[in-house]
Amino acid sequence: MTALDPPRVTNPAQATFRFGRRGIAEWRAARPPRALWPFLASPGVLWLCAFFVVPFYAVLAMAGGTLDEFATPIPEWNPVAWNGEQILDAFRSVLPGGTNWNPMRRTVVYVVIALALCFVIAYPVAYYVARKAGRNKGLLLLLLLAPFWINYLMRMLAWINLLQTDGYVNDVLDPLPFVDPSEWLSGRSSTLILGLVYGYIPFLLLPLYAALDRIDGRLIEASRDLGIGPFRTFCQVTLPASRQGLLAAGAITALPMFGDYYTQDLLSRSPRTQMLGNQIEDALQQGASKQLGAGLVIVLSTFLTVLMAYYLWSTNRAAQEVR
């Protein structure tokens, strides 16, 4: 329905009565002017332009800027004068053979594994809470939401407490055969990946829950009534119906994960687990390397934009398929 649709008046006489002699033409004029909606949206749009779009311009200006005589970076506000070669250097550094290739490769591997683990854990949980929990649904939902109210760092701190060499994780694992008590916090990729899963899984659960909750139960029933087995029902009904939700959940979880740096900082301080986010943070923290840092921010944003574009493209396509 759009603002141009004819007014929905079931009884024209009544409408005439209400609007008196001025009639329906006048009434039409009283409908929200087209400008009202952009007007309502404007504070938000302006805010995001000023504090989200403009900052990216500042990043570009820094990445393409110059150094003064003390090797302090000076931003260059004129796009024509940007040092493109310098920005390209940042891109080259994440390619094989570049100085940031290892962190880049590692970041992608970690995020892919962590995301896969997140899905494996979250899908059954979301499915259960959305479709099977029955009376417990409210309680379960509250518990699922709990991590949102609890500081991410507090949750990480909890794990640091547990993973100490003399911590409870080792106490539990100790008696088990073929597990040797370990230095979990001595720069292990596995600890880091589990940390990422733990930190980001709530972001995956919620959209997934929402998507599964929306699926019309009758679809599944119909599929069963047609004698289709549960496995095929899942593959051919439930999974496709939740595909949009899966994509959205994947995007909202994975993309921010690419920029994570504090998880590695807390759980491991080893070059073997350095992620791209750490390199960016490090470069930006060092005066003279700010340009490289800004350049890497652009690299990361470009990479994420490509993923985002793919996401938008596939949701669009999915929407069209539904139609």
């Binding site: 090797a71 230095e183 001595s186 070059p271 073997r272 687990t273 490090d282 923290q285 060092q286 005066g287």
Partner: protein
């Protein structure tokens, strides 16, 4: 065994008693006796008058012991006899780099509040100062950054009339090569680079190796070795190990890359700037560390761990990396007189000893005699190697000012190391 919180607090804030004598007792006693040590040649005029002409062309003149530098005058020092402002005094310093009790003493003496903001690395700090969006009064730079900070007009010239205690300082640091005439800085504390470890977790010592530094490279300690999160100290580590200690201020890319390769050979190496907590805690059994970090480490030992397990080793011939840090006043300080008072305060021998008792870092004051510190066990005997001798300081090599582009080179190569 749990201790009363008050007791625990003091255990955290001052190193524990050794040899049955209370630490505080030592502190007081050492302060007394140390003060009696004659201060030979300690009365050099603070404002020396040599006028080295500054060569044109380079943005920053590189100060070296054989090429002392008088920093350019940017702005003017405050006038004499101004009234002391009210607080708060805003200080920007490393984490845990001053005794809170000393700060409290200053607060009480001057009836002001101190606002203490900490950073975890010099780069991070200078980055933040460079934004121009901060307004600290007192800053604790390392001497290799001093000239850049002055050239960029971040620091203000000192009026030494407010800092009579400068006379307490070792003569060579009253008029140091990096800041002739102490125009912009006073010395803070001394340190040397070495290896700290917990003897109960590690079955070897650097003395078991022909070259003590090789301990860090021993494959037996895979995953147990940590290095300092600082490009200068850590890239200098392999250079010192190669025996090229005089090259710790190199501008030679090849040498730095060689150093990078060497660092990558340390198996499972990790990086932190918190040796003073991580070593006693046991999470980093072997740590390339600053001496003072290890001297303050006993205060962070977990319950039930014997303080004698803490060890420190540095190059025995004293020809390792050694240095002193500085204290300066920010150009934009709104309380310059109070800031001067603070600088004078920390050069007082009693205050310096109070600071040292918690912080572990020694002040280069004439009255503080390294041999006495060792003999009186001001610091535990097993850590006496971490006490900096004046002779070590003269023999050692300092990390000094680099040309801006060279500094960036060090940064870049260290980041490559971090990239793994």
């Amino acid at each position: 065994m749990a201790r009363h919180p008050r007791e625990r607090r003091s255990a955290l804030w001052t190193p524990r008693p050794y040899g049955g004598l209370d630490r505080r007792e030592f502190l007081r006693r050492t302060a007394m006796t140390a003060l009696a040590v004659p201060t030979a040649g300690g009365l050099l005029a603070a404002c020396g008058g040599d006028d080295d002409p500054k060569p044109a062309g380079s943005a920053i003149e590189l100060a070296r012991p054989d090429n002392p530098v008088r920093l350019p005058t940017k702005g003017s020092a405050i006038a004499d006899d101004l009234p002391i402002e009210s607080g708060p005094l805003k200080i920007y310093n490393w984490q845990d780099y001053a005794n809170p009790e000393m700060l409290e003493k200053f607060e009480a003496e001057f009836d002001v509040k101190i606002e203490w903001t900490s950073f975890s690395g010099m780069d991070e700090a200078i980055q933040k100062l460079g934004t121009g969006a901060v307004d600290f009064d007192v800053f604790f730079p390392t001497i290799d950054r001093l000239a850049t900070l002055v050239a960029q007009e971040h620091l203000q010239p000192l009026n030494l009339n407010y800092i009579p205690n400068l006379k307490n300082v070792w003569p060579e640091l009253q008029d140091p090569f990096y800041d002739k005439g102490s125009q912009y800085s006073i010395p803070y504390v001394l340190w040397s680079d070495g290896i700290g470890w917990r003897a109960d977790l590690v079955d070897k010592t650097p003395d078991d190796y022909d070259n003590g530094w090789d301990m860090l490279w021993d494959p037996a300690f895979e995953g147990k070795v940590w290095v300092i999160d600082d490009d200068r100290d850590t890239l200098a580590l392999p250079i010192v190990r190669m025996g090229r200690v005089e090259d710790v201020n190199t501008d030679d890319r090849a040498l730095l890359e060689q150093s990078l390769e060497a660092l990558r050979e340390i198996r499972g190496v990790q990086i932190s700037a918190e040796a003073y907590q991580k070593v006693p805690e046991g999470s980093s059994p072997i740590h390339h560390a600053w001496s003072g970090d290890m001297l303050s480490a006993p205060g962070y030992l977990p319950d039930g761990v014997d303080a004698t397990t803490l060890r420190f080793w540095d190059q025995p011939d004293g020809r390792g990396v050694i240095g002193s840090d500085a204290v300066s006043i920010m150009a934009g300080s709104k309380r310059p007189v109070l800031a001067h008072a603070f600088l004078n305060f920390i050069l007082d021998t009693d205050n310096a000893l109070l600071n040292m008792a918690w912080n572990g870092y020694q002040a280069p004051l004439n009255a503080i005699d390294a041999d006495r510190l060792i003999a009186d066990e001001f610091f535990p005997k097993n850590l006496s190697a971490a006490v900096v001798q004046q002779s070590d300081f003269d023999a050692g090599n300092q990390l000094m000012q680099l040309a801006p582009t060279v500094e960036k080179l060090w940064d870049d190569i260290f980041r490559e190391f971090k990239a793994g």
